[in-house]
Symmetry: C2
Subunit: 419 residues, 2 copies
């Protein structure tokens, strides 16, 4: 991206600088330079008058979506086997499918489709699990870069308590991880993230080594935490020296020592929720996945009250769609069900859940997910053809989030560059 | 439909003659005559050899979907205002929107789009609420007939406890209803159904008159029951002479005296569930609506155990999609959440929820929703392009239900006639 490059988008600008309310600028200009937002103007300032304007009429222009938890190699199994319980589902589908990524031709084919679907869905930033296979992971790095997407991508580490065909040798796992880190640390938009699958499939030696890599290269971390009660008991049995699941990660410098994402976080005590807030660990709410695998409901309102910043994740293939508006709707729906049994916890509103899928989750990438000055110019344009003309911008965003599809997105930009 | 007309579809035939299991006939012929299924054949019988075959290769052919509860006049408000609670939502959107249907030009425009969306979504049969306006209702009858859809359509009756601009005079309401009944009783695919909005917006006189019409013309009935606790208390206050909500309908011959649909049925006692079974009243589960309006979770497994036949409904505009696969998925998801707190009630499986959206709901229309001999030839064809070739038919239906859209439907037939 040239430092001087200026992008001018015209439309109705809508975003959530704070969580509870949409800020709307009808019929305005969104201007970015060198990939960063300069400002929003009702009238085009004189100095830009000779530049090209990408004019989208009165279409909505909103921040690109941020998907903070997804498994790229599970793209081909989306929607399959969801009558199974977690362990049968893993054994019948997930582990078999991930094993195919030892073949780079297969990885190339599936990862291309995965990345194309992210683009079409308007997801401009994501935090992605690959598989244990370094060559396939390298291919996904290259594909994401080629498509112009922003991402944290992790080679999965897994050296115990899983089928032999996808179990790693600990030293090799760490060496392969470090090699990918060195190859991609200087990359602008696609960066590495330390990715132990979760505590049960990690030896202490692996966790120790990964924590050291996170500190040595100052890299973020992603994993899973407290998805279901059986998993929590398993962790307690495997790591009896720690009296809480999160302490396994924490002990090895994988819990807030560097920026950390923890998918699910459904079954946490109030004290553990406070610790998320203190350590600024970001729990990633994956509502479709939590429904499909009968995991439970994350107490989102309780977490917000405790000062936790929540992100949203598609979590394919336990979730069944990469389209973030569907995840926004499901987060709201689940919070409504939760509120029926917890009167003190009001449901999420649309602008609150929208914030999670833009600025809230985006903060993991720095200044991402808003249109305030200095933020990355990640934007998508929503077509408003076929809408009854009397819809207000607020109603248009409601209509798009609840009923839209990738086909309603007219254009996508990451860091000022059109995809 | 000519009595002799023979339809031959070739593909992979998939349906649920019983609730728990898909019956699959790979690469077979589905043959119908005069709109009714004759049989499924692996090899084409000699006598049909000279007839035209609609050959869909190895695409899935499944029964058309049955939507047992939906509000056509709310089509234009889909997805709007769902942060509101029920009463605010009704006052801000629904009543305002329904009032527009006093203009037949508006009705014509919205109802055309509604019916087109039913067709594209593969919903071949539905039970529909119109508004109180007889002329607009007449237009919807005509549009549904023109599109070749099967439907029960009800002019809504509402003569108290609602804004004046959509409140009817009781006698006029009954007279208008009878006029539409007389006009449409002999229609083949689109038929009238008695439709009090719900108990609170009905005077005793109205309910009495509607019950008489149901008996006089042997017409089915549809309304709402036990959607949320506040509504139930309201009914108790309005009808203190009855000690249960359903008894209001029952007293006036609107509860099983003729075939009856009751939307929602979330907050019922065990005894009331048994009464649904005894009276063969069909509760219509509208999971997206129940989530969006924070109504609660229908105890579907408990009802199935009690011998109740459950249908599924989109319930737009409280629900936000007419696409029945989305409703199937949400019914499964909600049953999973319910099972977390009711261990004895296992979640719905995909073939169980699929049955509800085909043969289960279809039984309200007679022999509809299955491919057994004598059933109406309601069928849709699912495109399988872009699928990894190794998917089995069982995986294909999973993939379509969880991730498909109207665009994956290649063809639709109602009673043997292509739409």
């Amino acid at each position: 991206m040239e430092k001087k490059y200026i992008l001018i988008l015209k439309g109705t600008i809508l975003f959530t600088p704070t969580a509870g309310k949409f800020e709307i600028h009808p019929d305005s200009y969104l201007i970015a330079q060198g990939g960063l937002i300069c400002g929003i103007y009702k009238d085009l300032p004189e100095k830009y008058k000779d530049l090209t304007i990408e004019d989208y009429g009165n279409s909505l222009i909103i921040p690109g979506f941020v998907d903070l938890h997804t498994h790229a190699p599970q793209f081909n199994q989306i929607g399959l086997g969801l009558d199974y319980k977690l362990l049968d589902w893993l054994n019948h589908y997930t582990f078999q499918e991930e094993n195919k990524f030892r073949q780079i031709e297969y990885a190339q084919k599936v990862y291309e489709k995965f990345a194309d679907t992210l683009v079409s869905s308007g997801t401009t930033r994501s935090a992605i699990f690959a598989t244990i296979h370094p060559k396939s992971c390298q291919i996904l790095f290259e594909i994401l870069k080629k498509k112009g997407l922003g991402a944290y991508l992790g080679k999965v580490n897994m050296d115990t308590k899983c089928p032999d065909f996808i179990k790693e040798n600990t030293q090799q796992s760490l060496a392969n991880t470090e090699e990918l880190i060195l190859a991609w640390s200087d990359s602008e938009l696609v960066k590495p993230i330390i990715t132990p699958r979760f505590a049960p499939t990690s030896t202490r030696k692996l966790l120790e080594g990964l924590g050291k890599l996170a500190l040595k290269y100052n890299l973020p971390v992603q994993s899973h935490l407290a998805e279901n009660p059986g998993e929590i008991e398993w962790v307690q049995a495997l790591f009896p020296e720690h009296d809480a699941y999160y302490k396994v990660y924490d002990h090895y410098n994988l819990f807030g020592q560097t920026p950390t994402l923890m998918a699910h976080c459904i079954h946490l005590t109030d004290d553990e929720i406070d610790i998320l807030a203190t350590k600024k660990v970001v729990p990633v709410h994956c509502p479709d996945s939590n429904l499909n695998l009968t995991s439970g409901i994350m107490p989102t309102r309780k977490m917000l009250k405790a000062g936790v910043n929540i992100g949203l994740g598609s979590d394919i293939g336990a979730g069944h769609s990469l389209f973030m508006p569907q995840i926004i709707v499901r987060a709201i729906q689940l919070s409504k069900i939760y509120s029926l049994q917890h009167e003190e916890d009001a449901p999420l509103t649309l602008p609150e859940a929208f914030y999670m899928a833009t600025k809230g989750g985006g903060s993991f990438f720095g200044k991402v997910g808003s249109f305030e000055p200095g933020y990355a110019a990640d934007a998508i344009v929503i077509k408003n053809e076929n809408l009854p003309s009397e819809l207000s911008p607020l109603e248009e965003i409601q209509r798009f989030i609840y009923t839209g599809s990738a086909q309603n997105i007219a254009a996508r930009y990451t860091a000022g560059k059109k995809l």
